[in-house]
């Protein structure tokens, strides 16, 4: 709970290799139904809520930032309370449960709708790859499933020493899977050249661009997010300009029971950006990305899943 990044969860699950447990949960969900599943979901949420003070504090910090704007306050229906913190953690519990069910092969129980995805699918049809900027908002994992369904090749960048193991795990889980994990290694030149090769093959490269990497030296961009000065990693936003490829914001949020909505919005498609302007173009992309995050924090206020102090000294 303290570190709910998909990378960590993927590593953990892949390490334990508990495909049997995933299949059991999917079976449980499909056989006993959503109502029985709520027992597990609520149970986990209560446990998380009681056990993780860090997550409660982080949730409150986020909800307070959101409630500081009139739209955010309206979305929450008032100032944050202990109940809203619980609701936030409950939403995370639902998120994990759904993800596990889908991993276990239970995708048929879910309905997906798509927003603004035309540009991405048409880029994919013409063999043009692109950068997908995602966030710890909603379910990154549902995007993975979707890419499998539509035959998009998606490479997911993440900090891990276990890329090979995670890749093997997903292959075993679904042999048709077209998602691969690329290890992000800031201490070598490997990552960016791998990204370029993917884009040149017409594939997509997804990165969670809302978190600074733990302990790594990297370029940082400052902007205002939910009314507070916030640091974001700059590199993901530079790639589009350097490689001259389309850039999309890719999110998948839960709309209701077993219903997810994907948003794949094109935020930039410039090639031949002069070198002197690349940093500026990167900053522009960051601003567009942050605007979309804020829009979704208001639309689905409980699906922001950064359960750690997001604004360290706020």
């Amino acid at each position: 709970m303290s570190e709910p990044a998909p990378s960590t969860i993927w590593s953990t699950v892949a390490e334990r290799g508990s495909i049997g447990a995933l299949r059991f949960l999917a079976w449980f969900h499909n056989t006993l139904g959503q109502r029985a599943s709520w027992i597990l979901i609520y149970g986990a949420a209560v446990y998380f809520y009681l056990r993780t003070g860090v997550a409660r504090a982080a949730s409150r910090q986020y909800l307070e930032a959101l409630a500081a704007s009139p739209e955010g306050r309206a979305a929450l229906g008032g100032p944050p309370t202990r109940l809203s913190v619980f609701r936030h953690i409950l939403e995370f519990s639902i998120n994990i449960f759904d993800r596990v069910v889908v991993w276990g092969g239970g995708i048929d129980a879910y309905r997906f709708t798509h927003d603004e995805s035309g540009k991405l699918f048409s880029a994919a049809r013409t063999g043009r790859g692109g950068i997908l900027l995602s966030a710890h908002l909603g379910s990154f994992d549902m995007l993975r499933v979707l890419s499998d369904e539509y035959g998009l090749v998606v490479n997911v960048l993440m900090y891990t020493d276990n890329a090979e193991r995670i890749n093997r795990f997903f292959e075993k889980l679904d042999p048709r899977s077209t998602v691969r994990v690329i290890p992000l290694d800031p201490s070598s030149m490997r990552t960016t050249f791998t990204i370029r090769s993917c884009i040149e093959r017409g594939e997509f490269v997804a990165v969670l661009a809302d978190r600074l990497s733990p302990g790594a030296r990297e370029r940082v961009a400052q902007t205002t997010f939910l009314g507070r000065p916030t640091a974001f990693p700059l590199s993901p936003f530079l790639l589009g300009g350097v490689l001259g490829c389309p850039v999309f914001v890719a999110l998948c949020v839960r709309e209701g029971r077993s219903h997810y909505r994907t948003l794949l919005r094109s935020i930039g498609d410039r090639s031949g950006v002069p070198r002197a302007e690349r940093e500026k173009y990167g900053q522009d992309l960051l601003e567009r990305y942050v605007a979309i995050l804020q829009e979704h924090c208001i639309r689905t206020p409980y699906q922001w899943f950064n359960f750690y102090p997001f604004w360290p000294k706020a």
Partner: protein, 89 residues
């Protein structure tokens, strides 16, 4: 040998231009010194930008191979050697 030195200077100028190191003079970059992480402290986006610029200027192809690249981008001298061997323009 004079050619190689000329090429090294050209590459130093290219590095400064591509990576907008306005406060660095070409003479300050040592031909054998490390460029990335240590040395000039460039990162992997810088390496990619530099690779693209070298490809445009000299018609070389920088591949994905991480070990080769680690060596290739280790210094101006290794870049100059690579360009000399592989240039098509």
């Amino acid at each position: 040998m004079a050619d190689l030195q000329g090429l090294e200077l050209e590459i130093k100028k290219l590095i400064i231009e591509v990576l907008a190191l306005e406060d660095v003079a070409p003479e300050e970059i040592e031909s054998e010194a490390a460029l990335f992480i240590e040395g000039l402290g460039l990162d992997s986006i810088d390496a990619l930008e530099l690779a693209i610029a070298l490809e445009e200027r000299y018609g070389v192809t920088v591949e994905e191979d991480p070990e080769k690249n680690q060596e290739l981008f280790s210094s101006v001298r290794s870049l100059a050697g690579f360009v000399t061997e592989n240039r098509t323009k």
